[in-house]
């Protein structure tokens, strides 16, 4: 079918590559226009599969447009646009290009109808994201970016291996429901899991996001994990393993978030916690739970983006991000503070804020499926997320003790981006039906029942009560300048040990081989071949003497051998005998061969 539009990812990626040709205002205009043009282009594409091209024995599909890919397409354009506004002051070609291409790669991945296209955009996502981290240009960012790249390349290879096996087994590269079973499906599952920040595979996220540039982190928080959520929703809905993985993701990061000092790292942990809810929703696999997972992904992109924007603004103005250095900023940055509270209320799922209308869908689906433990863990995670993201972030940055920092309010373009995001969070929270109409399944879900509102309000207020009382009692853990080791210890310290061990082992072998073969053995050989005939005789003679035990003047005989050899004064008979022996030897060798 011919349509008057371009493949969904093309405008952002090609446009992003054209960015270096422009400067100043023109570049700013281009960066703002690209998501808008790309969005208008997306609206021109009818539902269905487009841009089907032959590839090897199969075909690639550049644009599979259905309800599932469309909702991700909408929110990705929205956040790309908001991030572009937020990053308007950034005059750094690396970041400008990487941010735009990164958003384009995410679009390419979610509209990919086959696994090869998915893989290509998956890798482009990794490459462009790495540049957003490296662009911070600090030593830590360099290390974090390198680790980010290595982990994602490993995950990507796992995915590629799975794809190749899957295609050769099933004969089709179409990216549809896969389900767990074969080794190939497990490899694809784990490959997606790396991007989804599953437990133990997760530390790339909490390692790299807080080290990226101020604006880079806003981009990063939106695309990589949500693309993975899309891939899971497409290929593994209803996979029971996801329920356990998701529940773990929802629970464990909140403990880390409570004791973490770097506020952007706190948000990184809470990002994993929120993605946990989505993974559980996909794992349950009912229409309600998958809708809930996707609605929550939509909302999370907005409120997590908003929270990262506010912390970025604080960092932009003060140059600090650790809770120990901040506090009392509500006077200097009142608007940023207000937007941060909106983001905090949304992530905590306060009634009338966006999180309320999506998180509860997953929880209700778990309850309807009689999954008691999952439900209890998710409820614990809901209380916990309010605790660390809802209260801790705004409290330590804007209130708490006065840090003495006096700075300007965030620049207007940042305020605009934060303001639009905050408005959308409230809008979705108050009028969820617009979001619900975009979801892949048609369901009748009513978030605003008296029971639900009351239950959620009680949960949150008593969580807040716990925070207040613990803080007043001095039990709440004081922020300490420190880092907390996570699973990345395995490769950050562990690999160093492996390196040390292999250096010890292999250097030892090397040393020994050098000593034995290069030095001792060659010198022995050299000594021997200096005078091979005499040496042979001398050693033969010594052997004979020692075995037979003949007494006599051996030293004299040996000296005689040396002299005879040096002056080449062998009796003629012996010379002839040796020559004949050599001839016999060579002819025997010749005939035997």
């Amino acid at each position: 079918m011919m349509i008057n539009a371009l493949p969904p990812a093309l405008i952002m990626i090609l446009g992003g590559l054209l960015v270096p040709l422009f400067k100043g205002r023109a570049r700013q205009a281009l960066l703002l226009l690209l998501p808008v043009i790309s969005f208008i282009n997306l609206l021109q594409i009818p539902v269905g599969s487009h841009w089907i091209l032959p590839f090897l024995s199969d075909q690639i599909v550049l644009g599979r447009v259905d309800k599932l890919s469309l909702i991700f397409g909408y929110i990705f354009h929205l956040i790309a646009f908001l991030s572009a506004i937020y990053a308007l002051h950034v005059d750094d070609t690396v970041q400008n290009v990487a941010g735009t291409v990164y958003a384009g790669a995410a679009l390419g991945a979610i509209f990919a109808g086959d696994m090869f296209t998915l893989f290509v955009f998956w890798e482009l996502l990794t490459i462009s994201a790495t540049f957003l981290i490296l662009a911070r240009r600090t030593e830590r960012a360099l290390g974090a970016g390198f680790r980010y790249f290595m982990v994602h390349v490993a995950g990507g290879l796992c995915l590629l291996a799975g794809i190749i096996m899957h295609v050769s087994q099933t004969g089709s590269a179409a990216f549809d429901l896969i389900g767990l079973g074969t080794i190939a499906s497990w490899l694809i599952f784990i490959g997606i899991g790396v991007n989804c920040a599953w437990p133990v595979l997760h530390p790339w996220l909490t390692d790299a996001y807080p080290e990226a540039t101020i604006t880079g982190t806003v981009f990063l928080s939106a695309f990589t994990t949500k693309t993975a959520i899309y891939a899971l929703a497409r290929a593994f809905p209803g996979t029971e393993e996801l329920i356990f993985i998701g529940a773990t993701m929802a629970a464990f990061p909140i403990f880390y978030a409570v004791i973490e000092n770097d506020l952007r790292r706190v948000l990184a942990y809470s990002l994993i916690n929120q993605v946990g809810f989505m993974v559980v929703g996909i794992g349950i696999g009912t229409a309600l739970s998958i809708n809930g997972a996707i609605a929550h992904a939509f909302n999370d992109i907005l409120f997590k983006g908003l929270l990262f924007m506010t912390m970025g603004a604080v960092m932009y103005r003060t140059g600090k991000i650790n809770a120990t250095d901040l506090g009392g900023l509500y006077k200097s940055m009142p608007w940023t503070c207000a937007f941060c509270i909106v983001g905090a209320a949304s992530i905590s799922a306060f009634p009338l804020f966006s999180g309320f209308v999506s998180k509860s869908m997953v929880m209700e689906a778990a309850a309807l499926g009689e999954m008691r433990w999952v439900w209890f863990i998710l409820l614990f995670a809901s209380a916990g997320v309010f605790h660390h993201a809802g209260i801790k972030i705004p409290f330590f940055a804007f209130f708490s003790h006065d840090s003495g920092i006096r700075c300007k309010e965030a620049p207007p373009h940042m305020l605009l981006a934060m303001g639009i995001s905050a408005a959308l969070c409230i809008l979705i929270g108050c009028f969820p039906q617009y979001l619900y109409s975009l979801l892949p399944y048609t369901i009748d879900y009513q978030p605003y029942t008296t029971s639900h509102v009351l239950a959620q309000t009680q949960l949150l207020f008593f969580s807040a009560l716990a925070f207040t009382l613990l803080l007043l009692a001095g039990i709440y853990p004081a922020e300490i300048r420190s880092i907390n080791v996570d699973a990345d210890w395995i490769y950050r310290k562990g690999c160093r040990q492996i390196y040390r061990f292999s250096r010890w082992a292999f250097d030892g072998i090397n040393e020994w081989a050098n000593r034995t073969f290069a030095q001792q053995f060659t010198s022995l050989l050299a000594q021997f071949f200096e005078d091979p005939g005499a040496n042979l005789q001398k050693h033969g003679y010594r052997l004979l003497v020692e075995t037979s035990g003949i007494e006599g003047q051996h030293e004299q005989t040996i000296r005689k051998i040396s002299i005879r050899s040096r002056t080449a004064s062998y009796p003629v008979g012996i010379g002839v005998l040796l020559a004949v022996l050599i001839l016999a030897l060579t002819s025997m060798l010749l005939f035997l061969m």
């Binding site: 909140i254 309850a367 605790h387 009560l465 716990a466 709440y476």
Partner: protein
């Protein structure tokens, strides 16, 4: 208090004691806390009169969500502070050698 603002306005440096914000005054904080405690008590009182329609039976018990929210957060903080922190906390230069 010695940290200098990164971004110095054209205005002369502000004396912190002169410009007390809303939340720097203890009486304001107290007032805020009193409002908060009242809300908390009210929410519990409401629970006596309104029976929640729930999927699980225990959701309808008096004060279930309130108690769960409170206890969950206390456990969260206690475990994070006394179990997790001693296990995982390292100096800031832990990875820098």
């Amino acid at each position: 208090m010695s940290q200098l603002p990164i971004d110095i306005d054209e205005k002369p440096p502000i004396d912190i004691d002169e410009e007390l914000g809303m939340f720097d005054k203890p009486e304001n904080v107290k007032r805020l806390l009193r409002i908060f405690y009242t809300c908390v008590v009210l929410l519990l009182v409401v629970d006596i009169f309104y029976h929640k329609h729930a999927i699980f039976a225990w959701e309808g018990y008096f004060g279930f969500y309130a108690v769960y929210g409170f206890v969950a957060c206390v456990i969260l903080v206690i475990v994070a502070k006394y179990v997790l922190r001693p296990m995982v906390m390292r100096k800031e230069d832990h990875y820098d050698d």
